[in-house]
Structures are given as C-alpha cells and as structure tokens.
Symmetry: C2
Subunit: 347 residues, 2 copies
Amino acid sequence: MPTLSVFMDVPLAHKLEGSLLKTYKQDDYPNKIFLAYRVCMTNEGHPWVSLVVQKTRLQVSQDPSLNYEYLPTMGLKSFIQASLALLFGKHSQAIVENRQIPHGCVLVMGNIIDCKLTPSGWAKLMSMIKSKQIFPFFDIPCQGLYTSDLEEDTRILQYFVSQGFEFFCSQSLSKNFGIYDEGVGILVVVAVNNQQLLCVLSQLEGLAQALWLNPPNTGARIITSILSNPALLGEWKQSLKEVVENIMLTKEKVKEKLRLLGTPGSWGHITEQSGTHGYLGLNSQQVEYLVRKKHIYIPKNGQINFSCINANNINYITEGINEAVLLAESSEMCLPKEKKTLIGIKL
Amino acid sequence: MPTLSVFMDVPLAHKLEGSLLKTYKQDDYPNKIFLAYRVCMTNEGHPWVSLVVQKTRLQVSQDPSLNYEYLPTMGLKSFIQASLALLFGKHSQAIVENRQIPHGCVLVMGNIIDCKLTPSGWAKLMSMIKSKQIFPFFDIPCQGLYTSDLEEDTRILQYFVSQGFEFFCSQSLSKNFGIYDEGVGILVVVAVNNQQLLCVLSQLEGLAQALWLNPPNTGARIITSILSNPALLGEWKQSLKEVVENIMLTKEKVKEKLRLLGTPGSWGHITEQSGTHGYLGLNSQQVEYLVRKKHIYIPKNGQINFSCINANNINYITEGINEAVLLAESSEMCLPKEKKTLIGIKL
C-alpha cells in the first residue's frame, strides 16, 4: 500500500464565486433575504418555469417517434435553426445569405447586453469598433425577459449584421424558458465570408469534440418543440409578457414605497432599467449595511434580481434601503448613485 | 463594411474521426453494412434502449415534485451516490471510508477495460504499477454489457481499492441504459488521504466551472430513479441480461456459420470475448477486402460491434469473411490472428 499520496502537491483551489450565497446560507436569521439569484423567481419565491415547458416536456417524453441517439457534436440541427431565427428574426440577412452557419452549444461566455444607447450612441460605438479593430462578442442571457418583445431585445444584433460586422454571439435559453438544469444555448459566429466561416467552424468543432463530443438533448428538444409550434410559441410569449409585467410592477412598487418613506435621493433609475436584474443605485457602504445589519443579501455592485422581491418581503427590503440611505446621509455626504451600463463586447 | 475577414488566417481543421462512417454513408450499394457503431444495436438494427428507461423518463416528466433548477457544478448528489454504489458495490471500503468523495460528470477520457488477466496476471500488473509509479485511469464504458453481472464487470476496481491504490475512474452510463443523447457519466478519484482528495476535488471543480458550470439533469435523473428503485433496478438488470445473451448467441452463430463454411483458421476467440465489441481476428488485407469488395464496413483493427449483426445480415457477413480469408490464403501465407487486450490504464 502506498504510504504517500500522488496528490500530495495539489493545492486547494481558491473559490472565486458563490461567497455571497454561502454567507446567506450560513446565516440563521429567520427573515434573511437573498436578492442575487441568477434565475427569475416567482412571487412565491421559486424559480420561474414557463408553463408551456412542463406541457412540452411531457409531450416529448411520450413521443414514440423520438430516439435517444447521440446528437452531432455541433448540436441538434432543428434546435439551431429555431434558435437562430429567434435571435436574428426569420428573414435576417445573415440567415438568408447563410453567413453564420450555426453551431450549437459550443462555448458560452458570460457578458451582459443591457445597454441603453441611443441610435447615435450605437453608431459612435460601431465606428469605434471598426477603427480600433475590436472584435464584438455579444451574450444574450435571457432574450424576452428585458422588454418581453423578443425582436426588440436583440435588435442591435440585426443592426450589426446589416452593417457587415463579424462577431460572436452566445445565447442562453435556460432562463427565458425556465429550464435551468439542461444548459441549453448556442454560440453563433457571424463572418463575412463562407469559406472562412467553415474554417472557424471546423476549429470550434475540434474543441467541442475534445470537450464534450455530443451535447445533451432534452433541453434542446423541448425548446425546439415550443419554437416550432405556433400555439406553443404563443403561450411562451404570453408567459414572458407576464413575467416582465410582474417585474416592472415590482420595480414601480419599490420606487413608490421609497417615495412614501421619504428616502432621500431620486429612484427613477429603478424603473428605467429593464430585465430581471437591475442596479439599486446604492454605494458599497449602504450595501454592506443591508447585508450585515438587515440580512438582505445584495452583491457589492448593488445589482439585484428584482424578481426576488415579492409581497412578503417588499416592506422589509424598502425599509432596509431607507435605513441604509439615511444612515449613510447622516454619517457622510452621500456618494452619487451609480448607474452602470455594461456592454456585451469582449475586447 | 470590413472588406477582409478577421478569420482569414484560420485554417480548416483536419477531421480525425468518422472517416469509416462517412465512407459508409457515401456508399450507395444497397446491401452495405456498418459494423462499427459505438452503441448497442437491436435485432432490428436500431440503437438499443433499456425498456425501463422509457417508463422512467415518462414518470420523471410527470413528477410535480421535481424542479428544474441548476445542478451543482459537481453534479446531482443522489446520482453520484447511486452510480458509485453501482461501480464499487454498496459496501465498498472506499465508500465506507469516504476515500473518493464523488464528483459527477467532470472529465471523461476514453479507454477500454476488457482485459482477461488471470488473478496472478493482475497481481503482476499491480506490482509493476507500484514499482514504476504508474497512475491508473480506468474507463468503464458499459458496465453490465460485458457479462451482464454488474459486480463481475467492475470487480477489478474493488481489488485496486482493497490494495490501497490511488486512481481515476471514468464511467459512462449512456450505453448500458441506452440514453445516448444525455452524456451521463462520472469521474471518480480514489485517493489515500481525505485532505488531498479535497484539494484534487477543488481543482477539478474549478475546471468544471470553467467548462460547463452546471451539468445537464435529465439523464442523471432517469438513471438515479432506476438505480434507487429495486423494481426498476431489477427490470434494468433483466434487460442487460437479454442483451448480453443475445450478443453471445450472435457470436456463437457467427462461429458456427464459419465452421459450416469451412473457413480456414480457428474462430474460438469470437466467443471468448465478452461485451458488444470484439475482434474478428482478421488482418488488414482481409478487412480491406470486406470494406472494398463486400461493402461491409469494419475498422482497420478488425474490432466490430457484434450487436450490428442480425438475422438479416449474418449470412452475407460470414460469407464475406469466408471469402476474405480464402482469398488471403490463396495469395499469401495467412498472418496469425490478432487478439488484442487493451488495459484501461493511462500512463
């Protein structure tokens, strides 16, 4: 029996993520609140699932015509087609001209496209991207959960396509369907030339073969069934609309409650932001007060998931924010409210 | 609009795999046969799925108590426990002493454990592994599809555990359940020391976070349901038994048909091998004859998937083998039959 382990020189890896959630879980305060979940939550505090997903899951599992063979390395073809049409629109120039030949589930890199630039702002940015030869990488984490208008949420992509830009775009379809456990997504490469696109694809396929060989099927199959069926698609769109309206209502309520409490500062930025996640506009001292004294867990940058706020906790949360702001006001001059816009472009 | 693509220097990646299947697909000969599928096939020529899988899939999709939240990076805990018990036995020393804390779906590296060493052969190999400080990496691609006895198929692992070896073991659960499209598997690390095991786990978790963050759920959930329910487990074991008996019967028939045809050589090695895949014992010239002249697609090493042989094609295949052997006999002295044993250890 070996007396020494071959692993004796392996150091413990430092965990970068999850410390806020870990602290929250270790907190035994009964009314603790976590406002940083990645997924969209229901009013009852459970992860949201579009109702049409459950129906389709059952339908798919009962369908005797489906087999369970290995998927191609580059993904389920019908899924890729359906999600491309979702991303760019059915009549997109890039799809019609076959400029992005699709690849399913290749690489997903995180980034946030939630920037509210004016048309002239976009034009300036594009001009800068061109002149500095920057390569754009867009990430679409939850199309339809910003404005509930699927086209509106990705309009900027179509603009980049129409201007002849080359770019990468990753899209997750986990959050906007509520299928968090299947890791469904695509990576799209848009190139100006088909020959070079084939080369890029071949390199990416090599990576995918080395990493996972065959992507999993269930999530892609459910989403394809929904996107390909007009009735199911309609139900899904309706469910997105309800979620977005509910989040907007929550934001309005938060703003109104802060107004009624007389909380110093203007809180209009809360309702100006779209999507599940948004900045409260608190400084780090105020965030720390909420976490340490009120057991309301918020990331250091003050960006919270508004769908975590519901009728049961809204009073406690807004009163906590009010306290945090008043305390900071009394101790020092309040810092200007931060409002960050992150642009989904990787340099 | 950019005139040059940023991708202009990307070369086309050379595809290493799939050339035999590609040639087969391009062949328009009506009676072509492919004998190198990775998965177990039914008598009707479809990929085999254990019947209990379909039933469980439906049950899982109807279960209102299940949620679809992100799985932990290290996998579904109940799945890992169930598959570890399958791999090592419920009362394994390593499990009882918590010497392998489980990690789900971290890395799967291909290797074949189909070696038929005698107990003294294993003892010699172990002694060599110790003296040369070789690190063993076992791959279990289809436990239960060798002998249909789940314990027998992984007995050697328990022997390595009992001898205090440290090793990695990857196990795929796609083939022995017939869930090819969900990529279900685990990587197990066996270490002599818990502290060092935690360090290795933390490093692997970092890799998994960078590569996929959350593993997919459906396959793991179906398999966990089957392994945790004695009635379903019994049905699954029965289905494995039927498959293995069927393959053994096919091998017996192939051997008998070659005997009746008077094919030169001894063909006992065909029935001496267990599992879906086995060596025909043909040399490269004979394999080439079968592919080129008879449209029977066999990998160059002569290892075929015996479950691809059924009542519809067995005569054509055995007659083809007979022709290939006779032709080689008449043209030159026949090379000795190869019988390879590959050991699932990575140096």
